[in-house]
Each structure stands twice: as C-alpha cells, then as structure tokens.
Symmetry: C2
C-alpha cells in the first residue's frame, strides 16, 4: 500500500454529496419519466470512443478540448465530448433502430477546458439530450418544444419561456441587408445581445462592425415583437424578395400551429428573431428555454433542427431535431429560486437502539417502516437517547421513533418530531399513517 | 468536417440500445429505491481522478489496468477503477458527512483489461455499491445482508441465496491445520471450488498443494452444513484452542441473530465455511448472492467487512462494510431466467396521423394520453394506416389509436391491439381506462 497521499479532486470535477445527489436524482427521474411519456427511449453509449470517431467533428477549438488517453503508445482513445456524435455513430451502426428514432440520453461528458466553476463551466458535467432522428416532419420539432415545456413544468419551474427563431430567418436577414453569408456569425453575435443591451446597443455593435448603412434592415426585423402570428405576418411584409425569409416564416408558422395542436400553452413561447444559437450546427428552427426574470442564470436548455450532423458517418444527410437540457443550470436555478432547495436526508425516521432488550422491538419496527416504503434507519449501537436525537438532528432526519422500556411496557412507541420537539405516544400503525400524511420533502418548486 | 470514418466501438465497451436500457433503467431505479428505504443516500464522484489517488491501491495487477490520460505531457490523470477508493477519498475530504456514513453509488468504472464479453468482462462497466462507513457495529453487516436479500427480491429473483462466511474462520482454519498464514490464499482457491468439484475434488486440490497430512482438519470444517446455528455450534466443538475460529463463530452467531431480528428469511441465507472472497481486502464477515440452480451465472453480488481500506487517505483505520451488486450479471440472469425479458418499447400507444383534417383530433388525443401518464407517440406524417400499423408492429408498440374520418364523424376513436389484431370503437376515456387496466409490461420476473 502506498504512503498516504493528499485526498483531492482534479480541478473542474466535482463530488456530488448526498444532499446534492438527492436533488439531482429526483430531477433526472422526473425528466426521464416525462421523456418516456413522449415516447422517447433511453440510450447509453460508452465514455471511451476511438479518437477518430470524435476528432474533426467539433471544429479546431473543440478538437483541442477532447481528452485523449495514453493507450498502446498512441493517443487513439478519447473521452466522450458530447452526446450528439456518439448518437450519430449509433444511428450509422444499428439500422435496425429504424426511423424515426426517438431517444433520450443522460450521461457525463468531458472537456479539457479551463474550468470556471462559478460560471458553471466544468471539465466533467452531465448532458441530458432528447432527439428525434430520421424525419424532417415539422411535428417532430414541435414535439421537442412541447416536451421542453412539459419537462420544465414537471420539475417545478413556473415562469419560464421557450424562445424560438429559425436559422433561415437569420440567414435571410443578412441577405436582405445585402451582406455576404460570411458575415452571419459576427452579426449574430451582435444581435444575440438584444436582451442585455437593447436595440440601441445592438445598433452600436453593428456600427462597430462597419455596418452603418446596412444596420437598418437588420434592426427592422429583430425589433418585431408581440404574438408570433402577427410578428410572422409583419416579417412577410418586410421580407421583400428574400426567399429564405419567406421560407423561415413558413417554417415557424407551421411550427406554432403544431404547438397549438399539441396543446402547448402560448404564453410559454416567444418568437425572438434575434435569437442565434450554434450557427455551425443548426439548419432550421432553433430554440432555448430561459427564466426571463433571471437572465443571469442563462438558458436552461438549447436545441433546434440540425440536418447535417447525424449523417457524418454514412455520408448521406439524416434529418434530426433535439434539445440538450442543462442539468447544472437547472440545479443552480432550483437552488436560487426554490423555497427549500431539497431534501437534506434520504432517511425519514431514525429508530432508536436503547439497549439489547429493546433491540428486537426496534428491529421489528424498522422492518415495518421499510415495508411501508418509509426510508428508515436504525441507530447502530446502544446509546443514550440524547445522543441518538443529536445524530438525527445533525443528519436532518425529521422523526425519531423511540423504543424504550417505558413505552414498550405499554405496547406503545414514541414518535419525536425534531422540528417541533413534540413527542407523542402512538401505536406503530399510527406512526406509519402519521409519517405518510406528513408533507413529503419538497422538490424546491421554483417560483421564478 | 473530416472524411467519413468507419463507425465502430472500442473493444470491451458497449452501446446500450433502448430495449436493453429500459431493463437497466428499471433495475437501477428499483435498486436505488430499495437502498433509500434502508436509509442509504446517493453519492457520485468524478470519472477523472488524479492518478496518485488510485495508484497503489489495487495491487500490481490492478495498477497495470488503470486507464491513464495524456495530460500536460504526463500521465497524471486516471479513470475511476472502482467505487471504493473514490469513497475513501470522499470520506477523508468531507468530515461533515459524519459517521456512520451510509451511501450508495451507481456509476461506470474502467479497466484496461483484455475484454471477454462472453464471460461478462468489459473495459467499461457499471458498479452498484452500497456501504456503511465508520462503524464496526455487527448490525451494519446484518443490514447490508438484509438489504441484499431485499434488493434481489425487489428485482424479481425468487430462488437466490446469500452465502455467508468470515475471513476469521478462513484464517483460523489454516492455523488449525498448523499451516502458516502465507498459505491462506492457495488454500482458499482450493476450497472455494467445493460447490463445483465436491469434497473429494477439494481433497485432491489440497493434495496437489502438498497438504496430504494437513487436509483433514481443513475438510472437517468446510464439510459442515445445515442450519447456521448448528454449524457454528459444531465449529466451536472442533475449534480446539484456535482463537480466530472462536472469534469467527462469535461474529457469525451475532450476525445471524441480527438477521433474524431484522426479519430476513432464514431460507435466503446459507453459511458456507468454504466461501472465500478477496482476501487482500476483507477483515470480517464475507458474503455473496448466488442462484444455486444456475451456478454458471456466477455471483450476483459480493461484499463483506473491510476495515483496512477506507482509512487509506487519513492513515487511521476506518471500519466499513458493503456490497457491490453486479449489474451486468443481474441483467444476464434476468434475461436467462425471466419469461419475457423486458419491455421492448417505451411507447404504449401509437396515435395515427391520417390526414391534415384528422391531425387536430390526433394531437388532442395524444396530449390526453400523455397527461394520463401513458407513454404515447404520434406518427409524424400523414400516411396510409397500413404503414402506420406496420411501424407500430416493428417497434413493438402494443396499441394503435386510430383517428380516421369514419370514427371521428361518430365522435369515437378505434383502438387496435396489435397482438390480437382486434379493433374496438371506444371513447377516449374508455381507451385510457383500457390501457391502464392492461397488464403492465413485465420486468421479467426471474423464476430461477
């Protein structure tokens, strides 16, 4: 055995201790259950991939951030960088999956980035992706947005919005201003700040790009606001003879119509013609979920249609649409907005161990509680009750079930509620009823 | 974008496609929920650890199997090799976790081993560990065994046994035969085969080790069988003046007494004095769960008390007891023993898309089904019903909800059950009732 080494974490990675994990597990379970209701099926892929599978898919900067393994003298192995390229590999390898292939995937990814924990940037973090592969049906796009709304509502968020735009509209906007497509990225970077810096700010940004004369046609489009139907009608009027703008309007009109059919509440959706996401990537509608009253939290999810990427292993394009939900962002938001962030203990009742004579009764009560589905823990050695109460308190266990000679002689037990200090003599069935009726630990509803 | 490369998996790793994942997710959820009922709380640690944290903890062979990362010119990073050393690191880093610390952890681990998929040996596989840290209470050992029984029963196994022995008895057995402790490992390898080769086989194995004269005292102990209490009484009679044997008998007597108190069925437990597990590791009781009628499947779980390992980062010993459940083994066993291995589809109902006129009704029905918690999928483009039925069939979706002009004109829908081919006209609430009442997809109860 080696000499003791200092126990420490690699920077940019995290331990999730029980309190954090209880919240994360409940979140993930809620999300998965919502995904299943929409007919998405689970997929998992290995963390280890051949480097050649991942390399060249994420641009030069992405390539640099792929973790490589020392293996057989060469760096031929790599750690999963996202869940999309592995999905593309799976789609190419298993034609039996058929089309459309609707899958969700919740797994960690790794990036050799400079960690910035306070900005939520880590080297190891979980992604939570939902995608529909192999159909260009606009209904698939609508379903992904409906699912986003449903998922965030199921978690407990109240005042969130899904912002929607289209890659076609962004491209058409640049064309309408008489600018070459090559300028799209820098223009997107400028207009994407509208939320933060306002129209005048964007105007200045465009000016800095040397677009004094071309900024008006851009501002005319991104300033459109109101109900999506009216915005799109106005967009058509201002579109002139730019086919991409008309195609984008068609695309989004159908998308909003389908969202109506699917019963997605309109006040959850907003058409933001300045929204720009991952330009290398998306080919149709794009969307992200935000908490408008808490812009500093950033987007809770991002996604869109990306018809170019999934076919990378077969050579032929495969249409695809999906979202990635940001688990870390969601946890941050719940902790900031929720009244009580999470359960602090998995255990609901601590059963005392007074002495060897009382132990059989304690063990029986313990088994009964567990059989009733109530997470229960036995104090593991005979000790003063005071110490056992202190243990429960330290552990945030809400109840202590006291089985001591006095109570047992009367065929009763005593239930102590730590929050109030109250102690009642009850029968065991009464205890089970009482604990079941108590409000369950809250998930931290996010009244943002 | 790079030229297309052949999509392939690194040998020894696996993709888990939806059918496999549905079973694995349900298994893991069942296990976690049982662990929580026993008051164990979730923990997750990063996949990436500093190499110095892992190195030197698994012996020379283990060290060789640690995956190292190329990082900043040196191999200072490694992939998690098991869940126990990270647990030891966590216990040393966060004293606020208190004692006892009861945690479960379900995460993948990586070993640079020669993969043997048919023997269930992979380079990336999931471990499922449950441990109680920081107490030497024999009740903690009993709870871990009770939890093992409960977990396997909850998954659906019927004819399994937890085999129990003690490291002290194995050591005492060697002492009683007048042999040095250094011979314990080879003797354990010989006697551990008793199940497969019988007493005479073990006799021959011991002979091969040159123990013609010392084998009798060993065989006298490992041949003991019957009720644990009687076996332990007989062990005491044969123990002579070997303190380790008496201490081992004390230890196991108390363990079985506590298991009785916790209500663990006696017929689930068997005392096998020839059981030997991880000698470098365990210090007290040892146990493993098996399907006696299916010895080729191997053990479903293994564990025991190991008071030496968790303190490795603090220098001071920290008592610990735990088990590792083998997720891959359990899946293999369920697939081999269960009548129907798993749900083949997450989706319960496919809702048809007949034409644009019917789509609003289809979308409404879809939303209703989902709201009722029934996983439902919409066919994503208008098409012939025959093709939609074929899609559902290919996907193993059990029901198709047909919304076509004839039915809709009558304010009805038609529910087609694919297994029988039967098609009934119903109202939507009737459909929801019907599907809810249908037997849920079986988990594949393992009537081993």
């Amino acid at each position: 055995m080696a000499a003791p080494v200092e126990p420490r974490l690699f920077k940019g990675t995290r331990d999730f201790l029980p309190e954090e994990m209880l919240l994360r597990e409940r979140l993930v379970e809620t999300l998965k259950s919502t995904f299943r209701t929409y007919g998405f099926a689970p997929l998992e892929t290995p963390a280890l991939e051949y480097l050649e599978i991942l390399a060249g898919k994420y641009g030069a900067e992405g390539d640099r951030l792929i973790y490589r393994l020392a293996y057989k003298g060469g760096a031929v192995l790599a750690l999963r960088y996202d869940l999309t390229v592995p999905l593309a590999r799976v789609v190419a390898m298993y034609p039996q999956l058929g089309r459309p292939f609707k899958r969700y995937q919740v797994q960690p990814v790794w990036r050799a980035d400079t960690p910035q924990p306070h900005q939520g940037r880590f080297r190891e973090f979980s992604q939570c992706d939902v995608d529909t592969i192999g159909t260009d049906s606009r209904l698939a796009d609508a379903e992904i947005i409906a699912l986003t709304v449903e998922s965030l509502a199921a978690i407990g968020f109240e005042n969130f919005k899904v912002r929607i735009n289209s890659r076609l509209i962004l491209a058409g906007m640049v064309e309408r201003a008489g600018l070459p497509p090559a300028q799209l990225p820098e223009i997107c970077r400028a207009i994407d700040k509208l939320d933060k810096i306002g129209l005048q700010g964007v105007e200045r940004e465009l000016e800095k790009l040397g677009l004094e004369h071309q900024r008006r046609p851009i501002l005319e489009l991104i300033e459109l606001s109101g109900a999506p139907q009216e915005q799109l009608a106005e967009l058509r009027r201002r579109a002139g003879a730019v086919p991409q703008l008309l195609a984008g309007a068609d695309e989004l009109e159908q998308l909003f119509e389908y969202l109506d059919l699917l019963g997605t509440a309109r006040d959850r959706l907003t058409l933001d013609l300045y929204l720009a996401r991952g330009l290398d990537y998306y080919t149709g509608p794009i969307f992200e979920a935000v908490l408008p009253e808490h812009p500093h939290i950033g987007s809770l999810s991002g996604g869109g249609r990306y018809d170019g990427l999934i076919g990378v292993f077969s050579g032929a394009p495969v249409p695809a649409v999906g979202i990635s939900l940001g688990l870390d962002r969601i946890v941050t938001a719940l902790r900031q907005l929720g009244p009580e962030p999470t359960d602090r203990s998995v255990t609901r009742v601590l059963v005392t161990y007074f002495d060897a004579d009382c132990l059989p009764d304690s063990a029986r009560a313990l088994a009964e509680l567990r059989r009733a589905g109530i997470p229960a823990e036995l104090y593991l050695q005979a000790d003063k009750l005071k110490k056992q109460f202190a243990y429960a308190d330290r552990r945030s266990i809400p109840y202590v079930l006291v089985l001591a000679p006095d109570e047992l002689a009367r065929g009763e037990v005593a239930l102590k509620t730590l929050a109030s200090g109250e102690q009642e003599r009850l029968t065991l069935p009464e205890v089970i009823r009482r604990i079941r009726q108590a409000p369950p630990p809250t998930a931290g509803r996010a009244k943002s």
